[in-house]
């Protein structure tokens, strides 16, 4: 018996033909307007230019808000809260939420393509994860709208009033759904500001609100940069602030709200640990690590960006990890076969570059995927740093890019100590075949979500939020309702 020799003549590389999803599905327009009091209007602020991070082409001009526009939006939300939405029975509110959920599904292809154009994320993620999960949030919360008395927050919980909501650019529509769905289910009205670089799907969502016949002023969407976010946070007519974004901005918001009696929910940064014990299901752990840190180009606050691997299997795991990461396909986000798309902006790319350079100078060992990079657009090849130590910046700071820092540990106690040795506390993963060890570790890790033998699984029924500098308050599930109720 002879071994089939690795005869290079027989090895024909299989090139997948490009499988682009038609860009036309996005119904892209050259100009988008804000949604205020049930009408699409031009704001008085500076216009925003939305660009495609995969090509650096201008996608659209977006009318920007001024401080007076924020005033108008808050006034519209207040009026709607007092006249229509607040007094409406929960069973009636539920109908609107169901309608919105169904419209998101119906316009799912359009929203997915638009999201990918605006954000740079692979179409398979926007199509298979972001948009369906956004719809799921509305379906889930529609169910709660008439059952709030039974949610465990008291007999007759009341809405707070007008909620100011500020969302980031990494999951534009999904973050919107996570904010708007519970707010509306609980009877609040909202003024939402999407991120400066990714406002488009939020403005199409405004059309969906119109299609659903939502009373004017219940949902208001203003576009703008950080200054407009600050206007919303400081606005006296707002009863509640929900923010997802950086820890730095979260701290500023906390200072602004201190003593005002207005409730905040803050979902901030993270530096999640994936702990791989030596008895882990190794091939699935590899998949979980890859999904944990390379999904959405690593631009996920709950990313498993720190891999803690038991020293006895570190070498084997690292070899396998490199081979697996090398198979990730980077490129045109609209190609259905793309695994890793574009970084959201030049600013973000610079930040990733700066932090990875710090990894080099601190003495970590860098491995970069051999995948080719496109000539244009903001791309960063999947990168794995090994020989990382707790004291290095790449082990402590949130990189928010496709960069994994690999550290090792010797005992379960050491693993938990290292996992907790961070100023954040949003997520963690435990990989082991031993059930008792999962429970043991999960009780000791200070993080809002601890996954066992999986990573980055989301569901509207599960509460999501952080410890320490990862923020406070929860979104999702029964716990998430509390943020929008006077309890």
């Amino acid at each position: 018996m002879t071994d089939p020799a690795p005869d290079s003549a027989h090895i024909v590389p299989w090139q997948y033909s490009p499988a682009p999803v038609p860009r036309e599905l996005a119904n892209l327009r050259s100009h988008y307007r804000m949604f205020l009091g049930g009408e699409f209007v031009d704001g008085d602020g500076e216009s925003l230019t939305s660009i495609n991070p995969a090509t650096e082409e201008v996608l659209a001009e977006v009318s920007g808000a001024s401080a007076s526009d924020v005033d108008r939006a808050v006034a519209a939300a207040r009026a709607a809260f007092e006249r229509s939405w607040g007094p409406m029975p929960g069973s009636e509110r539920a109908k609107y939420l169901f309608r919105i959920a169904r419209l998101i599904q119906e316009r799912g292809r359009e929203l997915a393509v638009l999201e990918t154009l605006d954000n740079g994320k692979p179409i398979k993620e926007s199509r298979d994860v972001d948009i369906p999960t956004a719809a799921a949030h509305f379906f889930h919360h529609a169910g709660w709208a008439d059952k709030l008395d039974h949610a465990g927050h008291g007999a007759n919980p009341r809405p707070l009033g007008v909620a100011g909501q500020i969302i980031p650019w990494n999951f534009p529509l999904l973050m919107l759904a996570r904010k708007i769905a519970p707010a509306l289910a609980c009877g609040n009205t909202v003024v939402l500001k999407p991120a400066e670089t990714t406002p488009l799907t939020a403005l199409v969502f405004a059309e969906i609100c119109e299609q659903a016949g939502l009373p004017a002023g219940v949902v208001n969407i203003v576009a703008g940069a950080d200054d407009i976010g600050a206007e919303i946070v400081a606005h006296g007519g707002v009863d509640k602030i929900a923010f997802t974004g950086s820890t730095e901005v979260g701290k500023r918001i906390r200072r602004t709200l201190a003593g005002t009696g207005r409730k905040p929910t803050l979902e901030l940064g993270g530096k999640g640990a994936s702990i791989v014990f030596d008895d882990a299901p190794i091939d699935q752990a590899i998949e979980g690590i890859v999904g944990g840190v390379f999904v959405n180009q690593g631009q996920v606050s709950c990313a498993g960006s720190r891999l803690l691997v038991q020293e006895s299997i570190a070498e084997e795991l690292l070899d396998k990890l490199h081979s697996r990461v090398a198979t990730l396909r980077l490129g045109d986000p609209l190609d259905a076969n793309t695994d890793v798309g574009a970084i959201n902006s030049a600013t973000r790319l610079d930040r990733i570059t700066e932090l990875t350079d710090a990894g080099d100078s601190e003495g970590a060992r860098r491995w970069t995927s051999p995948c080719p990079l496109p000539d244009r657009g903001f791309f960063f090849a999947p990168t794995v740093f090994s020989d990382v130590q707790q004291s290095m910046r790449i082990a402590r700071e949130e990189i928010f890019g496709p960069v994994l820092s690999v550290l090792t540990f010797r005992t379960p106690d050491e693993a938990v100590a290292k996992a907790n040795n961070t100023s954040y506390g949003l997520s963690a993963g435990i990989w082991t075949e031993k059930g008792s060890r999962i429970l043991w570790a999960a009780q000791r890790i200070r993080a809002g979500a601890v996954w066992a033998n999986t990573f980055n699984r989301f569901d509207p029924t599960a509460p999501f939020g952080g410890y320490r500098e990862s923020g406070f308050g929860r979104e999702g599930g029964r716990a998430g309702l509390e943020a929008y109720l006077d309890v």
Binding site: T2, P4, Y16, P281, Q284, E287
Partner: protein, 331 residues
């Protein structure tokens, strides 16, 4: 239970010289073998199936689809394993194997024709000089329930009749009762009886119950000298599934990393459409690696798949679907 006492693995045939020292050690005795197999990393069902679902979403079209179709045709073990098989049916399939689509001479021929051992001579005669392999199931296929003597006699019949490949079934009863040594010995003896004939070991994964067992059975077969690990007989449901194929591909990749040797994978049973075959090829490409994308290292055990591949191939060139009567029906 009247199980015979566990035998010492390796007693029937000498360990192949190519096994590295650490792996030669694990087949020293039953206890070492069991320790090794039970010490393999576990398989997480949710994660494995999730990856398969992701692999199945690859969009393969145009040139890459044609490449996949031609590659898949060249990997087909065209199979007939019915009680009603006759010389006539085998000759009909042999003609199809040589020239799957006579209207299109560029169509690749299949890898092998797979038959019962009593028909191997017929297949060998019909396929002389064709380059198509003659695969024969043996060892009391499909149940594997007979005496060692009867099983080896079947292997001998197949080899003497001109089979170039033997597809054996493992003793699932011995495996599930933890008698790994017995399974190991049997594969070793069949391996020895095969001589230079290619040996595919059928694990009948649908009967093994867990993915952990599938991984253990794969390692056991490779340690005993299998050239290929094969999922199923096609007589048990579930037969070949994408997660099981993925798991086997992981194992041969790990085997390559440990030993430097390349071993093959053959999903069999249940793969009927081009779409499904392409999903398996994507798994080969992305799990084991492009090196495995050739008939020497990957096969499809199938009867109906070839016609769908041929129809899809015609559709690629003609630009329209031509219908099933434009390709030969052989049953």
């Amino acid at each position: 239970m009247a199980d015979p006492p566990p035998s010492t693995p390796g007693s029937a045939a000498p360990a192949p010289p190519e096994l590295p020292a650490d792996l030669a050690e694990v087949i020293r005795d039953d206890a070492a073998l069991k320790r090794f197999l039970h010490g393999l990393p576990g398989v997480d069902q949710v994660g494995l199936e999730q990856r398969s679902a992701e692999l199945a979403t690859r969009s393969i079209k145009k040139d890459s689809k044609l490449w996949a179709i031609d590659t898949a045709i060249g990997m087909v073990d065209l199979t007939t394993l019915e009680g009603a098989d006759t010389g006539g049916k085998v000759r009909a399939l042999a003609a199809k194997a040589r020239s799957p689509d006579p209207d299109r001479p560029g169509t690749p021929r299949v890898a092998a024709l797979c038959v019962y051992p009593d028909l191997a001579a017929t297949a060998a005669e019909a396929l002389a000089e064709s380059g198509v392999g003659i695969a024969s199931v043996a060892t009391a296929f499909p149940s594997g329930r007979s005496s060692r003597r009867a099983k080896l006699a079947e292997v001998e019949l197949a080899v003497d009749s001109g089979a170039t490949e033997v597809d054996m079934v493992i003793d699932r009863g011995a495996f599930l009762s933890g008698h790994y040594g017995r399974v190991f010995d049997e594969i070793r003896e069949v391996r020895a009886a095969c001589g230079s004939t290619h040996l595919k070991v059928i694990l009948e994964t649908g009967e093994l119950g867990t993915y952990d067992n599938v991984r253990r059975a794969c390692w056991l077969a490779l340690l005993a000298g299998a050239d290929f690990v094969k999922t199923s007989t096609g007589k048990v449901s579930p037969a070949a599934t994408l997660p099981v194929t993925q798991l086997m591909l992981q194992t041969v990749r790990d085997w390559r990393d440990r030993t430097g040797h390349l071993r093959g994978v053959k999903p069999a049973g249940g793969i009927r459409s081009t779409k499904d075959a392409i999903r398996h090829l994507v798994a080969v490409h992305e799990v084991a690696g492009p090196e495995w994308l050739r008939p020497a290292l990957f096969r499809f055990g199938a009867s109906g798949l070839l016609n769908d591949l041929l129809m899809q191939r015609r559709t690629h060139f003609d630009g329209h679907y031509s219908g099933s009567d434009h390709v030969a029906v052989d049953h």
